[in-house]
Subunit: 337 residues, 4 copies
């Protein structure tokens, strides 16, 4: 089988992770070239990875006819621009989330993707998590019946710097966007209304930056089910990632992973390892498996599991959540595509 030749645009933390995962774990993939405006910072690393073609201008990368697919791992505000250019160059596109903060820009991307006839995958890696996928399997197989209540808990171990928060678009866009996608993934249904609550309980500086640090959002789904998401910027015990689907025939609950199964019994208590603290430790496998799916889709073996419309929906829901928070009212969602 012919290997898929990848160009990777953006070689910051996440871009490098993708390159290293492709090289190690995706035998059907080849990293043909990388591009980064800060080309000098990337050279040594690229050489270590055995990557010979490295560009400052991503358009040079897109001009290479050998390249089949592109990973867009640039700063968020350039995602849509690079994606559009890549699609127009006939490359399949894997784009980090969110595609854009502006819904109209995302619709432009969707338009171009359709015209170009290429495959587009959005980087909602959590859909590939072993635990959450298993819950989804149990929903899809019908084992737990029709979903009635979906619960998603997602809490970071510590807040990012306030400077980051200021430009993040806010908790709903930066953090809960994954969970909005998760609710759609687990339930197989669209969100029709959003009621958002937020609080400032962790750091006054986050409030001053205009954001919340604690949130509970209720979603009404097209199939009649209710979903509730809670987020916190600071779970001191680790990176808390759980989901639960309750249905007409039963329930599937995904608990946190732990680094070992060991239980210790002492005079004090019974204890186990802490849960992972770092998101890469938790989603190691998910970051890899999303590329197996992408490569399979390019090879025509399966459908793209999380596409440009999925990317759009999550942003639409995040916008509605923000509006709900601001107005203290329920916001109804309508989709024109």
């Amino acid at each position: 089988m012919k290997k898929i030749r990848f160009g990777v645009i953006g070689t910051g933390r996440i871009g490098r992770l993708h390159v290293e995962n492709l090289l190690r774990y995706i035998p059907q993939a080849e990293v043909f070239a990388v591009a980064d405006v800060m080309i000098d910072l990337a050279k040594e690393w690229a050489a270590e990875q055995g990557i010979e073609r490295i560009f400052a201008d991503y358009k040079e990368l897109l001009a290479l006819p050998e390249i089949d697919a592109v990973i867009v791992a640039t700063p968020t505000d350039t995602h849509s621009e690079v994606s559009i250019a890549a699609a127009e160059a006939g490359k399949h596109v894997f784009c980090e989330k969110p595609i854009d903060m502006d819904i109209e820009r995302i619709k432009e991307v969707i338009e171009v993707v359709k015209k170009a006839g290429i495959k587009f995958q959005t980087g909602f890696n959590r859909r590939f998590d072993h635990n959450f996928r298993r819950v989804r399997d149990h929903v899809e197989s019908g084992l737990i019946g029709d979903p009635h209540i979906v619960r998603v808990t997602s809490r970071d171990p510590a807040p990012p710097p306030v400077s980051y928060i200021e430009s993040s678009g806010g908790l709903y866009f930066d953090m809960m966007i994954h969970d909005f996608d998760m609710v759609r993934f687990l339930s197989g249904s669209e969100v029709v209304a959003v009621t958002a609550h937020g609080a400032n309980l962790i750091d006054e500086a986050i409030k001053e930056a205009g954001d919340i640090d604690t949130a509970v959002v209720t979603l009404e789904l097209a199939n009649g089910a209710l979903a509730v998401i809670d987020n916190s910027r600071q779970a001191v015990y680790g990176y808390d990632q759980r989901v639960e689907v309750f249905g007409s025939k039963g329930q599937a609950v995904a608990y946190n992973d732990k680094p070992s199964t060991v239980e210790v019994y002492t005079e004090e208590n019974v204890s186990t390892d802490k849960i992972p603290y770092f998101f890469l430790d938790r989603y190691t496998g998910a970051f890899i498996d999303q590329f197996n799916s992408f490569v399979d889709a390019i090879n025509g073996k399966s459908e793209i599991p999380v596409d440009e419309v999925d990317g759009l929906r999550a942003v639409q829901i995040a916008k509605a959540a923000q509006e709900s928070l601001d107005t203290q009212a329920r916001v109804v969602l309508e989709y024109d595509n």
Copy 2:
């Protein structure tokens, strides 16, 4: 120590349970008399329990000077009337929840209780559950810091008859009222706003009866924390009762009880016992311990753990939830006492 002499008014299922628990497990209690309008139905049972004094008219029971305390286990619509009469007769009162569906009537009870100077306990038995109390302990000790997010899941194994639902006051009054109290208990804070969602996913007849069968309610608390409760009238796998408090220093999670710790490994899967199906199996200990606390409070050893104001609050929140559901809007709560 002098035993507390109880009169029990109402000898239906719950009244009999209370009598049997007092007789078996509360050595400081004595069941001195019972009353029930359907006196004939109760005679044989009372004789088996060794109870000699049995009245059709609860006022005759209240007239007995030997009686120290009364348990009000009559139908809901007579709770406040009987409680008032008992308080005026100088008896301590343990009243099943809800005290009344009418907030003004509850306030009357509160007034009478204050004047009479007696102890009044509301029958929110779940506060005495071994799991939930442990979570509360961890909050109170400061182990998990300030509460940020409280989650309560409470799902019945099967819906009650529609005839019952019709006169129940609706899911928020009949079922979630326990959870409203649980949020106050676990967080140690008052509810300041309610946003309610409901759905009909289980039985069309419930909808026709004007009620919902699935619900998610978000509560804003005075201390800034957020709480979310989900209820279902039908969890086919059993009586699902869980709570969780997430705070600034950690988290305490109470999972369901199971009848045994046994795990079975087969070619199919790894499985355990189902969770209890019947509420009495789950709250066996709680139904007993609430009386230990009541007796201790009467004896001056401790405070009443869940009093008439607690009974009022839960009803006020339930009313706000119903209003929120009806208006699809957030409802702010204000307490004048």
Copy 3:
């Protein structure tokens, strides 16, 4: 249904527990009389329980024609004597374990019981534990196939006083005897050979008293399966009681009970409650249920679940274990009845 009238002989800790359990939890039972050589110590307690007939000489108790069944809760060295007298008086007998330290004496008991035609139950309460019984159920139902390996862990929280150990007959008789019975119960098979190991790791004084404090014993069963028991006199984390049956179709594992299901997540670790420390906290239900079974057997509703031969077998195995420890060799068991 006629109540079974009990006479209880021996009112030390365990005798009193039995009386209180009969009074509270076994509605088909009545405590008609008690006997104890130290009659003065028991009088106040008996009065509190509402027991009117109390004797220094157990023979006076046995002479009462009203008594149907007797509980033998005297010191171990009088179990067989009292049991024989009771059987000869035509009373059903519930006898604490071990029936005797002398196998010939136990055989005498068996002989008398047979002649008298009464029901005899040995006090191996652990057979009635909710966890172990569930494992047994899974064996009996065939769910896990033929047993291949049985594992029993039984560890006390702290050693008894050395004075007690000196007269206890040693760890195999005093402590592991329960586990010998458990292996027979779980496997449904007889022990045909014993290989015992012991160690002194906890307290030098136990060694000086001629006993071990740590033990691992391997049993070969008639059905070909192997069983292994480990005991320790001191598990600082609590009363560790677990069993496991591995079979041709699967495995059933019983873990320790815990007082609550609560998990606490902090910066340090994830922890739960400690396991129970005191044997009565763990075997509360088992101490009660053994009498339900005894009463049912007397009423002809079921067979005696653990009879005089079961009592004999456990002692025979304990003796073989002691011999194996002393000789550092495997000991084959043969049963002539």
Copy 4:
């Protein structure tokens, strides 16, 4: 840092796994050459891995001066011969277990290793398992005090072909040898006596081949502790791998891994995923981490974690176990080096 150049001798299943792991996960390692007597079967695979040097005769590989270290993954009966040749050629050696079935041959290897001054690691991969290593950490840190009882359960999902069993050296050499090493690893103490039991419960053909399929072995340790290992050739529910160390201050228990944390609640039961069936699924990380340790030891950063003497000890214990099974007697071990 200079990369370690590996030659891999033997390219069957395990040899290939090692090569692929080195290439993917051990950045400080390079696979310089491979050798296999069945050279033609390996050529295509080697080309795919990008390995250019491939020999039929491992001596040609050993003659390459560029090679720093050798992995011996040939059939068991050639382990010692190849290891000796490699050590004499001045290469560090990683040798699969067992080094040899003949204790004298292992001692020869030890002699040569000492003279050559090279590093020698034995392939007891389970020491690198995340669960077992954590238990070991808790022993080493003193958290659970002095070890008193060590329990190891190790059960294969299905027996190997009888043809394999016939040449395997028997269950103690082929299967339990890992567990003998595990007991030494977990306890930090030497085995001083062995009492072995075995049974034939799974397949008559295994018996006819002269082997057992079920085993329980008790080990007495130099520090006074007792250890017990149970093995089965067939756990239909998966690859059951658990250990437990009970000590003077507590206990550490390692349970089985599971592919996900998901619990499913239905009307039938509560269930989770099965445990892994295939040894590579369970010990994925351990197979990698053993090479990280080997490379670190070669680079002088740490000691060899499991050396040639560890390889010898496990075989000595296995021989004693076999003798114990044959004689039905306890066998004392003495080590002259």
